[in-house]
């Protein structure tokens, strides 16, 4: 093993990790406003990719327009999901709402399977597929796009939640719904907004990843699972931690496959995740004793 091999493991780990990180990011946004773990988050990522493919090859639109439309359409679906399935039962315990999101994920997967088909599709890369060489390690240009857009989204969200009134209002809803309501915050609107933002983040992930990882109606299951693991690893509720948790998970997987055994790479990562949660149940960057009502 030479230095460039290690660099290769690191870079491919970072690319895969940003997949998990982007999904994890969506988890935290909804969790931060509602306390719900939205298990349909992986479906948002899938919808971004599949709708992108549909607008591009199905309707023949140019690539940038198709991708933009895919993100907007998913945003709309996120809003619909909140209005049709979450709001009617909003006073139910959080665990019931979590179950509702699982139901929605199965429904969305089923509809996409019937309407858009069962095949795997790929989107064309944004700027060609000639690999870029970094100190002997080869990287797809699309990986750089993914890393840059992930970082950009992260900074944007960080700014939104800590600097803007809307972002702070959303956080307030998570801490205490009633108090936020009494303080004059439109709680329902904030919940709707959180679903829309997290759908858009998920779909963005879906369209920038589809050229690298390809997409099909069932990619959301695995992404949802790994994304949730990443969110827990980083400390549920912390967008920065979630993204970092995703990157760490990806890099761990890549090194486990490269240095130990590719047959057991998933096992290694989950063993590390379990160990971490035994020692520090609030995750790497989570606050201790963070209490939800």
């Amino acid at each position: 093993m030479t230095f460039s091999d290690y660099l290769q493991f690191l870079l491919s780990g970072l690319t895969v990790g940003s997949t998990y990180g982007l999904t994890a990011l969506g988890f935290t946004i909804i969790f931060n406003t509602t306390g719900i773990v939205n298990f349909a988050q992986g479906e948002f990522v899938m919808l971004g990719g599949m709708l992108g493919v549909f607008f591009l090859s199905g309707l023949g639109l140019p690539l940038p327009l198709a991708l933009l439309l895919a993100v907007l359409a998913t945003l709309l679906i996120g809003a619909l999901m909140e209005r049709l399935t979450i709001r009617p039962v909003q006073d139910a315990p959080v665990i019931n709402l979590v179950i509702v999101t699982i139901g929605v994920s199965i429904l969305v997967r089923g509809i996409v399977q019937i309407v858009l088909g069962k095949d795997t599709h790929a989107l064309p890369p944004f700027t060609g597929s000639a690999p870029v060489s970094i100190a002997g390690a080869a990287v797809q240009p699309q990986s750089l796009w993914v890393l840059c857009i992930t970082c950009g989204l992260l900074l944007l969200l960080r700014h939104f939640f800590s600097r803007t009134l809307w972002g702070k209002a959303m956080l307030a809803c998570a801490f205490d719904r009633k108090a936020a309501f009494l303080a004059g915050i439109g709680v329902r609107r904030m919940v709707l907004l959180s679903f829309m933002i997290s759908a858009a983040v998920g779909a963005t992930g879906g369209v920038i990843l589809a050229p690298l990882t390809m997409t099909s109606y069932d990619v959301g299951i695995m992404l949802g699972l790994k994304g949730f693991a990443a969110a827990v690893l980083g400390g549920l509720g912390n967008p920065f931690g979630a993204a970092l948790g995703g990157l760490i998970l990806g890099v761990l997987e890549s090194f486990a496959a490269g240095l130990l055994s590719s047959a057991y790479k998933d096992a290694f990562t989950f063993v590390i995740l379990l160990l971490l949660l035994f020692c520090k149940p609030s995750g790497l960057f989570g606050r201790r004793g963070f209490e939800r009502v």
Binding site: D5, K118, T120, S129, K265
Partner: protein, 379 residues
């Protein structure tokens, strides 16, 4: 007026009775994964089976009796497959069963057939289905062993000695891996790397980097879409120059579409169905390949797949056995199946015996190379 209508109804009753007496249908059962993860295999199988039964009935049925197909969808779920088979054997009273689609489901249900004394023709590939031979279980999908032999013959001819393998961690990949790990040393090659990836993995550069460090003469990849497409792209990305051989698991146009330019020049063993047009007119399989392709595409407006071909072969094999034994009793069909020789199916030439319930040889495979986004028979 009254008399006429009385006469008419009498005629109708008589006709109905005559039909029932002369033509009690021959019931054939089928279990396919029409929905669920393996639906891309099961759906063409279901379509094909329906088409073949319609063709049989249009030609007057078997032994003058119409054929009825009872299809159940196992949703790629092993429990549902078991239930479906129970229903077919106990309630529907079928004379033979085709399917299930996946190897796992076949292995779970095949034990029931000896007890019920009904023959099963499986459409899945695992070698364990017919080895050791269960007298009541047959299969039409070619074995991994034959595909591996075909590839290793080529590697030997090209003077490649050190081989690396990368396989997917599902049933298909692991069955292939076992055969590869057995035949590579047995045929005098050296196995330099044995890498594995998950069916849902989206990046295999870590495994390919490890293989690159070993610098083998050739790499063999065993998996179904989309993994092998990711590997083909990763090979270009990392600049691996040694040849990459694929398995018959990616012998569909979808693979070329997914891998794009990275698919150019890759070689794989495949059934002749995907290159039906290029098969020499004198080849004994030519007629059945062209007929199936034309019929299927005319009726379903989609390209044929090897998997639909398995359903085609199974049903016509049952028809052949029924004609051979002049009986549609389950035990007679089973006995006649073992006597079927030189039967030209879409998967190859079937020669069943009491010891060989697959009936195919490595000649069922043709080596094809991907050129300009299309298959070409390797000369």
């Amino acid at each position: 007026m009254k008399r006429v209508s009385l006469l008419l109804s009498l005629c109708l009753v008589l006709a109905a009775a005559a039909c029932a007496a002369a033509a009690e249908p021959i019931k054939i059962g089928a279990v396919f994964s029409v929905t669920g993860p393996a639906s891309f295999l099961g759906e063409p199988e279901r379509n094909t089976a329906q088409m073949v039964v319609d063709e049989m009935n249009a030609a007057g049925g078997l032994l003058g009796r119409p054929v009825e197909l009872v299809v159940y969808d196992d949703e790629t779920d092993v429990n549902k497959a078991v239930l479906a088979v129970d229903k077919l054997l106990k309630k529907d009273g079928v004379v033979a069963v085709i399917g299930p689609t996946t190897s796992g489901n076949t292995l779970a249900v095949m034990g029931k057939f000896a007890k019920a004394e009904v023959p099963l023709i499986s459409c899945s590939a695992a070698e364990k289905i017919t080895s050791p031979v269960d007298p009541w279980v047959f299969k039409v999908a070619p074995s991994d062993r034959h595909a591996v032999e075909k590839l290793l013959d080529l590697a030997k001819a090209r003077g490649q000695k050190r081989l690396a393998i990368i396989t997917v961690s599902d049933g298909f990949g692991q069955a292939g891996r076992e055969v590869l790990k057995e035949l590579i040393p047995a045929k005098g090659f050296e196995l330099t790397a044995d890498e594995i990836y998950g069916p849902k993995d989206t990046d295999m550069t870590a495994q390919l980097t490890k293989i690159k460090a070993q610098n083998p003469d050739a790499v063999i990849c065993w998996g179904t879409n989309p993994g092998p497409a990711v590997i083909a792209r990763g090979r270009l990305q990392l600049g691996l120059t040694m040849p990459l051989y694929m398995s018959h698991g990616v012998a569909s146009k979808k693979f070329i579409e997914l891998a794009g330019d990275a698919a150019e020049g890759l070689v794989l063993p495949a059934g002749r169905l995907i290159v039906a047009e290029q098969v020499a007119a004198s080849h004994p399989q030519k007629k059945v390949l062209m007929t199936y392709t034309a019929d299927y595409q005319a009726r379903f407006k989609q390209p044929v797949s090897t998997f639909g071909g398995h359903a085609y072969d199974s049903l016509w094999l049952i028809a052949e056995a029924v004609k051979l034994g002049k009986s549609a009793k389950p035990a007679d069909i089973r006995a006649s199946l073992e006597k079927v020789t030189a039967f030209q199916g879409t998967a190859g030439e079937f020669n069943f015996t009491a010891q060989d319930h697959n009936g195919l040889s490595k000649d069922a495979f043709e080596l094809v190379v991907i050129e300009k986004g299309d298959w070409k028979i390797l000369q």
